[in-house]
Structure formats: structure tokens, C-alpha cells
């Protein structure tokens, strides 16, 4: 379930604007130092949702890292608010949740709040760079609905049910026939639909 990437690939962080919402000063220091090392110049730091909101209201950001539990569980609330904010372009900015809580509930909550990815602590520069590579290869569409706003949560390519007209251009229109090839493995499917893991080689 991996996609190889090149250590010699070049990234230019100089003009990237990053927002970090973390619940501790040390957490902020760690993440911002890593981004400064990557070459980022604009690293906006917030420890409260109010601070984070003020930043996205006045500044365009290209990537957001948020601790879901920052200020209680307000990190999640911030992401929900942002996705509903209609701030252009920040409302659709990629959000990576960063947390030591890896329970299924926590990850599901982050996904349903509109996060793009979930990154497990402890953080290291290599792990963070891998996830940034996920973000820049993420080609999911953005969904705004009554109950959800965020990157498309569906990773399956299924046709619409029989007798139902397709609503989207991307919906499969014809009935799926019997499979003629061998089933793909889960890792092959993941690579086809969405990069799940990047390993620098």
C-alpha cells in the first residue's frame, strides 16, 4: 500500500502559507520548526480556535495542521466552521489532523468534520513530508452538502443503483458487467484510487 517517491524530488515551500493549530507551545514549536526547515516562510501559529479563525479571516492559507483536541475538542469545531465558512480559498484548504488519539471514533470524527488526512503523533520531519506528498497528490473532489462539507469521503467507484439516473458527471452510467480480470488486492485498489502511503526511496 505504498507509492514510492524520490528523495531528490524538489519542493518549493517558499511561498506556501501554513496554519498550525496546536494545543501546546511545544507542539507549535515542533511543527513550525519542521516547516521552517522545509523552507516555509509563512508559518501562522494558533493555540486557540479564535486565533486560528482570525488568521484564516485575513490570510490565505495553503495547508492547515490542526490538533483535534486543541482547546478542548475545538480543533474539530474549527475545521467544521472553516468548511462552512465559504471563505475563498481557505474553506477548501487541505487540512491534516495531527493527534496521538488513534481511536476509530476520533479518526471518523476528523473525517466527518472535513479533514483531508489524519496524522499520528509522534511527528517526525519524514512522516510529515510523506503526508504533504499525500496532500499534493490528493485529487478528490470537494463536497458541500447539508450535513457535510469537505473532501469527498467516498473512495469506492461504484455505479448508481439500478434504475437510478446518475446525478454527477463522474457517476458510472452503464451497468457493471461481470468481472473478467482477477480481483485487485486492496493495495492495488488504494494506489489506483488514492495514494495511501508514500515511501521515500
Amino acid at each position: 500500500m505504498s507509492v514510492n517517491a524520490d528523495f531528490q524530488e524538489k519542493f518549493n515551500f517558499e511561498t506556501a502559507s501554513i496554519l498550525i493549530l496546536e494545543q501546546t507551545q511545544n507542539g507549535l514549536d515542533v511543527l513550525s520548526q519542521i516547516f521552517l526547515g522545509f523552507g516555509a516562510r509563512a508559518c501562522h501559529r494558533a493555540m486557540t480556535v479564535d486565533e486560528a479563525q482570525r488568521i484564516v479571516l485575513k490570510t490565505s492559507v495553503d495547508l492547515i495542521l490542526a490538533e483535534p483536541a486543541a482547546a478542548g475538542d475545538s480543533g474539530l469545531s474549527f475545521v467544521r466552521w472553516l468548511r462552512r465558512s465559504e471563505l475563498d480559498p481557505n474553506a477548501t484548504a487541505p487540512v491534516v489532523m495531527v493527534s496521538a488519539n488513534l481511536s476509530t471514533v476520533a479518526i471518523r470524527n476528523a473525517r466527518d468534520a472535513g479533514a483531508n488526512f489524519y496524522l499520528a503523533k509522534p511527528i517526525s520531519p519524514k512522516i510529515l513530508m510523506e503526508r504533504i506528498t499525500w496532500v499534493i497528490r490528493d485529487n478528490r473532489q470537494f463536497v458541500i452538502a447539508d450535513t457535510f462539507s469537505g473532501p469527498d469521503r467516498r473512495f469506492k467507484a461504484e455505479g448508481v443503483p439500478p434504475g437510478v439516473q446518475p446525478r454527477r458527471k463522474t457517476d458510472l452510467k452503464s451497468k457493471l458487467g461481470e468481472a473478467v480480470d482477477a480481483n485487485m488486492s486492496q493495495s492495488e485498489i488504494d494506489i489506483l484510487l488514492k495514494p495511501q502511503k508514500v515511501v521515500f526511496t
Partner: protein, 158 residues
């Protein structure tokens, strides 16, 4: 009837990161490691103070302090892992689980928590806590304690 909008947004981060110039991933990782070193000492001081804070809660058997202690253990887990104090990180993770998923309230397992705190203090100084095998054995012992208490708590739940 609810309305749903589905659209594709330009990946601005990808566009910026792929702009001419920049540095290789290899170089970026080296520079990030160097930058992290500038906050290592400050982070380790913070880490020590978090261990002390948990120790105070454990020594006073303050039930109200258990939530803050769990948060502190989580922070130690994260910070220690980032600075390659892996066994310390794992021990803090065990304590975090114990505080979150172990017996609560009057049944809080203070003795087990104190054992964890003492282990954290020892593992904080790898030069004093024996070789890797010894440190790993300590972490495994802590995990067993944490797991045993977690199971006990689950089986005693209504």
C-alpha cells in the same frame, strides 16, 4: 430536497510546492532535523516539568488531576517520540492509556501510575537507564500493567 455541490478545486499547495526552485526532499529533511535541534533543550525541559506535574498528581492521589495527567502523558508521548526518546515515548503512551482506559475515580490505580512515573524519570535519562534491551523490558512491563488494568476495568464494567 437537499442540495449537494461537488466540484474540483485547484490544489494550490501542489502548485506552490512544484514551482521552480526549492530544495530536495533529502535536503528539506536534513534542515528540518537541524531546526528541531534548536528547540530540543526547551522541549526536554517542558517534558521534565510535565513528568513532575504527573508525579504530584500521583503522589497526592488527586482524582481531579487525572484528566490533566492523561493530557500530560499524551504530550510526553508526542514530544519524546519526536526527539527519538522512543522508550520514554512508549512508557508515556502506556501511562496515557492507563489514565484514559484504566479504572477511574476511587478505583484509580495510583500505585501503577507511580510505577509509570518512576519509569518515565528513569527513561528520561537513557544514559542512566541501561541498554536498549533493559529499556525495552521496562516498557513491556509497563504495557502489561496497563493492559491488565484495562481488562480488569472492562470486565468490571456494568
Amino acid at each position: 430536497m437537499s442540495s449537494v455541490r461537488i466540484f474540483r478545486k485547484e490544489n494550490r499547495l501542489a502548485k506552490k510546492l512544484r514551482a521552480p526552485g526549492g530544495i530536495t526532499v533529502d535536503e528539506a529533511l536534513k534542515r528540518a532535523d537541524q531546526r528541531l535541534e534548536t528547540v530540543r533543550e526547551k522541549s526536554l525541559v517542558a517534558l521534565d516539568s510535565k513528568i513532575d506535574a504527573i508525579a504530584r498528581v500521583a503522589a497526592s492521589r488527586n482524582i481531579d488531576g487525572a484528566v490533566d495527567a492523561a493530557a500530560g502523558a499524551g504530550e510526553i508521548f508526542s514530544l519524546a517520540g519526536t526527539f527519538q526518546l522512543h522508550e520514554l515515548s512508549q512508557a508515556a503512551g502506556s501511562l496515557h492509556n492507563l489514565l484514559l482506559y484504566g479504572p477511574q475515580g476511587e478505583a484509580t490505580p495510583w500505585d501503577a501510575i507511580l510505577v509509570h512515573v518512576n519509569a518515565l524519570r528513569t527513561l528520561r535519562r537513557p544514559e542512566l537507564s541501561g541498554d536498549l534491551a533493559a529499556r525495552t523490558a521496562v516498557v513491556q512491563g509497563l504495557r502489561r500493567v496497563s493492559e491488565r488494568l484495562k481488562r480488569t476495568d472492562e470486565t468490571s464494567a456494568p
